[in-house]
Amino acid sequence: MQKVEQMTILENRLIAKDTYELKVTGALMNEMRTPGQFLHIAIGDGWEHVLRRPLSIANVDHHIVTIVYKVLGKGTAKLATKRQGDQLDVLGPRGNGFPVENIHDCNILLIGGGVGIPPLHYLGKQLLTQGNQIFSLLGFQTKEQVFYEREFGRLGEVMVTTDDGSYGKKGRVTDHVAQFKGIDLTFSCGPKPMLKAVSDLPLPGYVSLEERMGCGIGACFACVCEANDERGYVKVCADGPVFRKGEVVL
């Protein structure tokens, strides 16, 4: 049976411009093991926010799950006001995450843009324990928004890009991807144009999509995406958010 549970906030701190790292714990922790899955989080009491917010699992460690989120609109702004000890209404984990079981001894390139970066961190950690070599290419708009460079550094080689060149390499991640040689597999998460560019690379891999969600569990058809197979369409919340390259129309 699926569960919605109150989890307890342990920490909620600013780690970069508008970007927070949130640590929570609770009974639901036992379900959290697949990178790429998301938690569907209810924000605020009362019904001011009728829709939950999908946020990815960025790390799981010692019964603590970490989420890294950017304040974009009203819901994440409200989330940023939560304090240690507050309860958080969490549905999840949901979705089909990254397939990790059978990947061993590969050269892996993680390609992330902005708030697409967090799920790649937990993915990289798991892939590393399975004997893969991890390279990370992380794109941000500007210097103040850079986060988790050190965390990805623990997994392997990291290249950071900023759109304005204020930190790391200047430009978009896709401008620099050619510098990584001998890659067997890519995993990417970020804005659609980035995913599209990554998909055009002659490398196998997986992409993780973002789409506005209603239910987050597959019942409302809010988050569909055109599929390249006979299904015609897939639901990002239930069939994804992770898809094989080429599986969906970007």
Partner: protein, 310 residues
């Protein structure tokens, strides 16, 4: 406490059901609780053939509400009967099947098919979907067209036909009276109000479809007003909806004149919402001095509604 209600052709163990489009075909919510607990299930709209629906984004949040423009995405009536209904048939919960279309022929075709399907206890004629150009809303804003369509569907349906009304009209009572005179067995109301949200960065609508249907607690006062107005002029059973999220809201709809209540958007905020409401209903009714759901309906002094004695 006795929560049972008898509507025209529908015996419900309690007056709570998920609203169409907010519960798919039940599968996903069955992972949260046993669907046998529900009074009924209103399934997602069916059309004659499969529809892909609108481009994304399809939903946006508003203050105490949301906009949706799914666009009647569904696999088509035959696929629904073949692939979705069998799952629901295992439960002891009546299915109310939402019927949509672009033309009278399509409505009649879909209604005919669905009314023959096992487990379908009633049809819900959706003449109020605001999200597709030819989604039937023209039938819902014009009394004559509403009447003609209801008659055509009634002529083929083997089960009671409930007509779902649009709130985007100057005079909802006129539409309700039109479908009553056309032989509808009941009314469901309200569908969503037409709304829009702009993306401030682009100046364009946030939903790919432009407009979307507004639902959620924000619209409850409008729904209550309309249910009350229709109840004063029409004696058909009414399944009320629009912003229900607590047991108190159910009581408010029943007092306004509804005979049963559907829950839409709140299923997204809290997937246990219908179950929680059903669980809370006895205590809530008791607190306000009602002995049963029937007691509310009887004491709220409504005009003689045809309650079948079955």
């Amino acid at each position: 406490m006795n929560l049972a209600v008898e509507l025209q052709g529908l015996s419900l163990k309690n007056p709570i059901m998920p609203a169409s489009g907010c519960f798919g075909f039940g599968r996903e919510f069955h992972e949260f609780y046993d669907l046998n607990e529900l009074g009924a299930i209103m399934i997602k709209a069916a059309t004659g053939t499969a529809r892909f629906g609108n481009a994304t984004p399809r939903v946006a949040e508003t203050s105490s509400g949301m906009l949706n423009a799914i666009g009647l995405q569904n696999p088509g009536v035959e696929s629904i009967i073949e692939n979705e209904l069998p799952f629901l048939q295992q439960f002891d919960t009546p299915i109310i099947a939402n019927v949509a279309g672009s033309t009278e022929e399509e409505y009649v075709y879909v209604a005919n098919k669905l009314s023959e399907a096992e487990g379908v206890a009633a049809l819900e004629l959706n003449i109020s979907c605001p999200n597709v150009k030819n989604g039937g809303i023209q039938f819902g804003t014009n009394p004559e067209e509403a009447m003609a369509l209801t008659e055509a569907v009634k002529a083929v349906s083997r089960v009671p036909v409930y007509v779902k009304l649009s709130p985007n009209v100057s005079d909802i009572v006129a539409i309700a009276q039109a479908v009553e005179s056309a032989g509808a067995d009941g009314i469901t109301m309200i569908n969503t109000l037409i709304g829009m949200q702009l993306d401030l960065r682009t100046g364009e609508p946030l939903l790919a479809n432009g407009t979307g249907g507004l639902s959620g607690p924000a619209i409850k006062p409008i729904a209550i007003r309309m249910v009350r107005a229709v109840r004063e002029h029409v004696s058909l059973p009414i399944i009320g909806m629009g912003g229900v999220s607590h047991a108190e809201d159910v009581l408010e709809f029943l007092l306004a004149g509804a005979d049963a209540v559907a829950v839409g958007t709140a299923n997204f905020t809290n997937p246990y919402c219908c179950k929680n409401i059903i669980d809370a209903l006895p205590d809530t009714l008791d607190r306000y001095g009602y002995a049963s759901v029937k007691d509310i309906v009887e004491r709220s002094g409504r005009r003689g509604i045809s309650i079948s004695s079955s």
